[in-house]
Subunit: 754 residues, 2 copies
Amino acid sequence: MMSYCIISYGLRQRQEPARYTASVTERNPLLRLTTRDFVCDLHVLFFCLSAYKWMHGELKGNVLLQYLAWVTYPMILVMFASLFCHLVSPQAIGSGIPELKTILRGVVLKEYLTLKAFVAKVVGLTAGLGSGMPVGKEGPFVHIASICAAVLSQFISIFSGAYEKGTHNQDLLVCACAVGVATCFAAPVGGVLFSIEVTSTYFAVRNYWRGYFAATFSAFIFRVLSVWNKDAVTITALFKTNFRMDFPFDLQELPAFAIIGISCGFLGAFFVYLNRQVVLFMRRPTALTRFLTKHRLIYPGAVTLIIATLTFPPGFGQFMAGELMPRECINSLFDNFTWTKISGLSAPPGLGRSSAWLHPHVSVFVILLLFCVMKFWMSALSTTMPIPSGAFMPVFILGAAFGRLVGEIMATLFPNGILFDGIVYRILPGGYAVIGAAAMTGAVTHTVSTAVICFELTGQISHILPMMVAVILANMVAQGLQPSLYDSIIQVKKLPYLPELALGHISKYNIFVEDIMVRKVKFLSSQSTYRELNHLLETASLKTIPLVDSKESMILLGSIERTELQAVFDWWLSPERRVYERGPSSPGQGSKRRYCASLIHRAHSQQRDTQSIQINHLKLCTLLVHLSCDSLMQIKAWEEEELDKPIDMEQIRIDPSPFQLVERTSLHKTHTLFSLLGLSHAYVTSIGKLVGVVALKEVKSYFFPLFSFMCVSLSPRLVSSRDAAWRRAAMISCCGQLVLVTGCITLRFTRLFH
Amino acid sequence: MMSYCIISYGLRQRQEPARYTASVTERNPLLRLTTRDFVCDLHVLFFCLSAYKWMHGELKGNVLLQYLAWVTYPMILVMFASLFCHLVSPQAIGSGIPELKTILRGVVLKEYLTLKAFVAKVVGLTAGLGSGMPVGKEGPFVHIASICAAVLSQFISIFSGAYEKGTHNQDLLVCACAVGVATCFAAPVGGVLFSIEVTSTYFAVRNYWRGYFAATFSAFIFRVLSVWNKDAVTITALFKTNFRMDFPFDLQELPAFAIIGISCGFLGAFFVYLNRQVVLFMRRPTALTRFLTKHRLIYPGAVTLIIATLTFPPGFGQFMAGELMPRECINSLFDNFTWTKISGLSAPPGLGRSSAWLHPHVSVFVILLLFCVMKFWMSALSTTMPIPSGAFMPVFILGAAFGRLVGEIMATLFPNGILFDGIVYRILPGGYAVIGAAAMTGAVTHTVSTAVICFELTGQISHILPMMVAVILANMVAQGLQPSLYDSIIQVKKLPYLPELALGHISKYNIFVEDIMVRKVKFLSSQSTYRELNHLLETASLKTIPLVDSKESMILLGSIERTELQAVFDWWLSPERRVYERGPSSPGQGSKRRYCASLIHRAHSQQRDTQSIQINHLKLCTLLVHLSCDSLMQIKAWEEEELDKPIDMEQIRIDPSPFQLVERTSLHKTHTLFSLLGLSHAYVTSIGKLVGVVALKEVKSYFFPLFSFMCVSLSPRLVSSRDAAWRRAAMISCCGQLVLVTGCITLRFTRLFH
């Protein structure tokens, strides 16, 4: 990040206006592209789901055929998605948010932001969602938007050259995350906040504005397109609710909301645990897993088969509203009816798809409970399938169902509703469902902005305070028990992410950099020869190489990028330079010789690419016949001679101020600096002498030496709440406040009635 | 920040559990205290305003008496507020947000976070708001909450010792800002976001969670208290609106919303300009301003007199709804009626205070326009009065009135509303008012989260997309023209705040630290004597002093805090140590001599406090009579002798890794590091040798040498939009999108009708 500032200042000065004009034309294509993609996606998706339901409907009468259609259709789609991703880009599998979190931390993950991954993700996601399995789309959307941003910024860097690397790319990625979430839920504010909470540790406030800009326009276009497609009459919320606004809830209902929050916290933590256990089981080297790895399509096929069988509407599905697709599920869970009251009687008008929850012989409670239990493990299982899939939506539905369950129970406990000022206000189970959805997703992702997403999804903000309380309680419980889903995946995938420090790491105040640094540093000195440089380039894989004054003094002068050194070295032994240096030889053989030398040189520099070496060798052999042997020897001799010359440091761009620490810098401080500045390494100097180097790896391995779950469970937000004492105190305080509120309400009511 | 980590690790390890338990007991008192205060405040305030209106009502019939009451009452309150603040704590004057922004940047502003300022702010704010003048409360609330946080963290540091300084205080202050805004508007989400946008440059995401926690509970208690006070039936929004939700607006109305956004951008920028011009005029040394500075109460008195006279309801006030207090204003502007339709006819039921806008002889448009124009300069003027006052609420009202004006014009242009699907939907001027309010406050404060605050204030989120678009457009225009109000105040007050870098500063990539550093550094070497230390402490005002190996080598070993050195020095010459060193002298004179020496020593160390020196001298003289002259000489000689001894570095706590830069660190990088890490100074080393020091002052003075407005106009958020080309392109793109939308809608309508 820092070196970029120095190296590219020359470029920047000249290209500023071009760059910033470009940044608009680029952000807008970004939005347009992503939203258009998404909308196309949604259309295909809509078609898929319609076809699925149509097929199911047409075959009524023949249960066996119906079952076959119900099961085969998702199996084909899921297996196609899995196969497509496997063949095109395996990086497209999964959510994408954990990888982005790592990329935004400053680590380069190759192949994650490529066009191939984009294609695989879009196709795989459409197929996966179209199958009706409980998989989400917010993570893949974030990944897709980020790929758009990365590809576009690469595309623009061809013209301007300034976007090649550095913080600007990161800024663009942060905005892309916001766009992804915003388009997924048509929630610009919630999208920005959720992406901040999920991906960043330190957030530059300037990106806030940019995120809003991008997210608003993407959400806007997303909704405007739905108006044009006549899906909606005007721009409204995605899952619009219609609760009464004059009296959304009474204070008496607060304890129930708090219970939802706390329960969702436990459930969310258990969800993360279950999901990880499934993944870990699949990674354990047993005969079964080896078999499944070999036959890749069996696992997703089997999972889909089990889930589809269980949700088959004429079968077990009738006891868990199995016929409802995810979107219908949410719409019906958020509706304005009280199901316990209509069960048994004839369905009131406007009930619509909610009738799936009402079974003539089974209580609504049983159906809701069955739905929660079955969907719980189904969601945890289906998000481990090797297809592009997020977990937000399945968890959202789970939370909504749980909230609805509590709401229906409340409606049964208080069948006459709440009497206030002579008017009876009935309890709204739909409101409980909204709160449950927000609390559960908050618990699983360890965020609070799910509440904001919920407001934007439902278009109603009247439940803001109980929802915030529930989400905070859920977060408290979940953060104490498990890492967030994304941290859990980071951990399972062993991505190079540096977690936040916990209280348990306080002892790191009196451990210093000298204790963990790598003392054997590979370096260049100002007297180094090209031979040494060659050796260094061949043996070391460092991205930047330190430059010292001399081997004896070891005084650090700066650092040089590997690419820079490679270019200098390549030029030094290039045929062009040789010809220039030696002057033209005999005219006839000159061009051939030069070509031959370039082949040798190319083979030399592309050592690892065996195929090209083979081709070059072939060409070389045919050429060599025409060349005199001593001429080749001459070239070799010249190269040998040149290799022993010292490097001309004047011509190399040196970063004069690489990040330095001293031996006595505490490990805690090192961690903070690495996190804050997004460093990948830092040199350790003692009175100006280079004595060692510390890379992210060392810091991470020191802080988190064991593959223990408790380490990553320390999410950035609740640093202070990790301490059990704190958590207990906070819980007690919250509960105390609630008890206080409840007590006062009871008191008021007693007064009212006497 | 960094040195804190190292120095206090000893303390921390022992006190972790205590500290974190404390942090809860502390955060909760914080909320409780602040909310309780605010609620008390509001009660006093409510009483003030009721008394005001009662007085005005009782005197009906006698216009002169009525006028006197109308004018005298606010004058007394404002002058009392001004006098009280002047006497108790002048730091309480104004908003408080600019100062907090500077404090959160890492600069210590003395006296801003004291109990005195708290008392002055609370009393002054209550009186100021009670006067009915157009002054806001969000800035003062933020200041009050921050003082609570600072005082409580000091209080707790007595027990734990760990809160003395460092990032934890800052974290607490960030949360306090959120609490302040959240309690002011009962808007937890908007509060957190607004405080982030306004105060931070880089935001630690862990504080996000904490901010939500604190803000939710404070907003919760604030609203629950209003239920208990029977002000509200249940927890609802502060300025609840009741717009229809099924069809909040049509796409055809979007251009009008965009016009509101752009106009509000211009108006907001002009507001900031006007406000600054008034302040600058008052600071210019003319005869008038000198007179006003001498007689402090004349300026606020005169301003109040002018404003009160113009708003006098039976006088000019009838043409600008002068009788409405701020809160009534907002409620009436957000109402569900269309004023142009009821003007002339008898008032419909439920119109309430909105009738103030309807004049029998004057059009609603004229009244709204007059209101906008008059309130515009009144707000700009009244926020410059020397009382605690924010500008958010006045600007909010202004924006609401402007939006309402546009809404009423739209309702006149489309008197039959919008026909859609056979149903005629009337235009909602109240919705326009909400959007105008959000856009105007967004433009003045350069934030987008005002939109979120608006949702929470009104309890309706249906206008989210047009509102976001309007706020973003307003921000774009305003950020291009003027700094935000808070940056403008920072600039006028010349607070030590380091603004973000602009594109114009790109040339700073090839200027290095060596060009701006202070080369003459005051330092201690490991051979320094106590005499040198004394000289250093007397001459230098540095907070930390660098320690070098020797004067010749100048190799930096670390830095030492001034307080540490002062303590060591004081102890070295202390009578206790002398007595201990020399052993007890003759028993009779011993105690007297010791006392005398302690007096000399005290006089010596308290050199600047002349009064105490005089007292000590008096005591000394009386004592000296009893003491033999040579004994005093002995002490002096001992002290002289001790002063020449070298300092024992073993006993001093040294920070072994102060922040270091090298000479060739670019100025751009320096700026980034200073901003990101909140540094106040950094040492410049060359091969380990201390060669200079760079303080915030140097960096700031280099980047922003002239007192030019364009410099601070570069707010952190729109770094990329500063470029005129970018802005133009963005504007064109937005307008283009709008034109596109409008065109498509027209097309659709044409199709519908043919």
